[in-house]
């Protein structure tokens, strides 16, 4: 039962974050790229303010999978690196913290682009 609630929490939080994105798409003139940027920067800010990690602890994938979660890993990486290396950590921490997502997207995106052929859209 506890496991079930864990998934419900992930679903609700993840869905809610995405629904906010849809409201932005439908009711503002923000382009998708701007919305992505907004969510990542928001994630960094919320991570920096220390409010995002509790949400991740509560909702798991529901908070870590949206781009705000990726933004919060930038904040977390920066905080750890500054504590360890001082001012140089401010530069290296963000990429270190978020490296997994970026490198995976670049590498798998590259592989996919090499393997597949562009196809026409029909609808």
């Amino acid at each position: 039962m506890e496991l079930f609630w864990e998934y419900v929490k992930a679903f609700l939080v993840g869905g809610a974050i995405c629904a906010v994105g849809q409201v932005l798409i439908d009711f503002t003139k923000l382009t998708p790229a701007r919305i992505l940027v907004t969510f990542v920067v928001l994630g960094v800010v919320l991570g920096a303010l220390g409010v995002y990690q509790p949400l991740v602890d509560w909702a798991g994938g529901g908070a870590s999978i949206p781009l705000t979660g990726w933004g919060s890993t930038i904040a977390k990486g920066t905080r750890d690196a500054v504590a360890e290396k001082g001012i140089f950590g401010a530069l290296s921490g963000g990429l270190t913290g978020s490296a997994a997502g970026v490198a995976a997207a670049i590498f798998f995106g590259f592989l996919s682009a090499v393997v597949f052929k562009p196809k026409a859209k029909e609808e």
Partner: protein, 346 residues
């Protein structure tokens, strides 16, 4: 000879003829309401080429070849070529038509290119400067989408006001007065800017230009909607068509019963998922060359106005936050030629 009537309209007293037309379409166009009327349909969106841009060129090459075949002409019989498309530096025309060896004029009128090329062709024939001229244009959904919007595989929702760029090409042969349809008069449009910035609402950007051009034609020729069987706009789609009707109503012209739009003829909005309707050079060209020209030739349509509309922005101007100006060019097409004017020398 031609006569200027009013400020903007040129009556072509010799009434040049469109002696032949050919239309090429893609899969979605073939599945639309007038799909059966296309001369050639390619179910492979790449048209057997390596890229979307080359596919569009191939479509123009096929359109040019088909219209020459239908009229039993060879490239040597055609004195000038007026062509254009939506791609940067109109490469679809340049690459698709380079092997013809016909003296070439490249045009950019965005989606109004079919009307622009027909107007220039008819002026050349009217002026006695040539015997046979070809006008041709095309658009391809995939090449337009990646130039103006997003890569095809990118996941995004289309706005309800967005339009679907037609994968189609149309070509016409214009020659001296011989058979319908006759081009009786033309009105060249002015660039019009009504402060529209939304790339997903092209119909709204182009409707004011269409309204102005149609109004000028009515004023110059002392006619109105009742004098025509059909007022056919290029690619205003649903939103633009509604706006055009309202704009002209404010000027005192009720076109509702006579108006149709190529963007609403080419696709069935209810089943084909094209949002507001079709667009692109190939939309007006495909509908005109497959459906309208034969209908005039058979006498089903007697007098009509063909008003192709274009949105004159580039991806750069849009990113820089500039407005989207529109343009509309008009041709009066008829199943009968102009009567010889008194004292005229036609």
């Amino acid at each position: 000879m031609s006569t200027n009537i009013g400020k903007y309209t040129l009556r072509l007293d010799k009434s040049p003829s469109i002696t032949g037309s050919a239309a090429i379409g893609g899969k979605k166009e073939a599945e639309g309401p007038i799909g059966k009327m296309f001369d050639i349909v390619n179910y492979d969106a790449l048209f057997g080429q390596k890229s979307w841009e080359l596919a569009e060129s191939e479509m123009q090459r096929q359109a040019a070849q088909k219209v020459m075949d239908k009229c039993s002409l060879s490239p040597g019989d055609i004195q000038y070529l007026f062509a254009g498309d939506l791609l940067n530096q109109i490469v679809a025309s340049h690459y698709g038509l380079r092997e013809l060896g016909i003296p070439f004029f490249g045009l950019y009128g965005a989606c109004s290119t079919m009307a622009e090329s027909l107007i220039l062709s008819s002026m050349m024939i009217e002026g006695g400067l040539a015997k046979k001229v070809m006008a041709i244009t095309s658009s391809h959904f995939c090449s337009a989408e990646r130039q103006f919007r997003f890569p095809l595989e990118y996941g995004g929702q289309r706005a309800p006001t967005a339009q679907w760029t037609a994968t189609a090409a149309g070509a016409c042969i214009i020659a001296e007065n011989s058979q319908p349809p006759y081009i009786k008069a033309v009105t060249v449009g002015c660039i019009e800017d009504k402060d529209i910035k939304d790339l997903n609402n092209m119909g709204a950007a182009m409707a004011p230009a269409a309204s102005t051009t149609i109004k000028r034609y009515f004023q110059d020729t002392l006619t109105g909607p009742d004098n025509f069987d059909l007022i056919l706009t290029g690619d205003l789609a649903q939103v633009g068509s509604d706006l055009l009707a309202e704009l002209l109503l404010r000027e005192g012209y009720d076109i509702k019963k006579k108006h149709a739009d190529c963007g609403l003829i080419l696709y069935d909005r209810a089943t084909q998922d094209v949002e507001a309707g079709g667009s692109g050079c190939g939309c007006a060209a495909g509908v005109l060359c497959s459906y309208i020209i034969p209908a005039i030739r058979e006498g089903k349509i007697k007098d009509m106005l063909f008003v192709a509309t274009g949105a004159l922005m580039s991806p750069i101007s849009v990113q820089q936050g500039q407005n989207i100006p529109g343009i509309a060019h008009l041709l009066h097409l008829s199943s009968t030629p102009n009567p010889i004017q008194q004292g005229g020398n036609a």
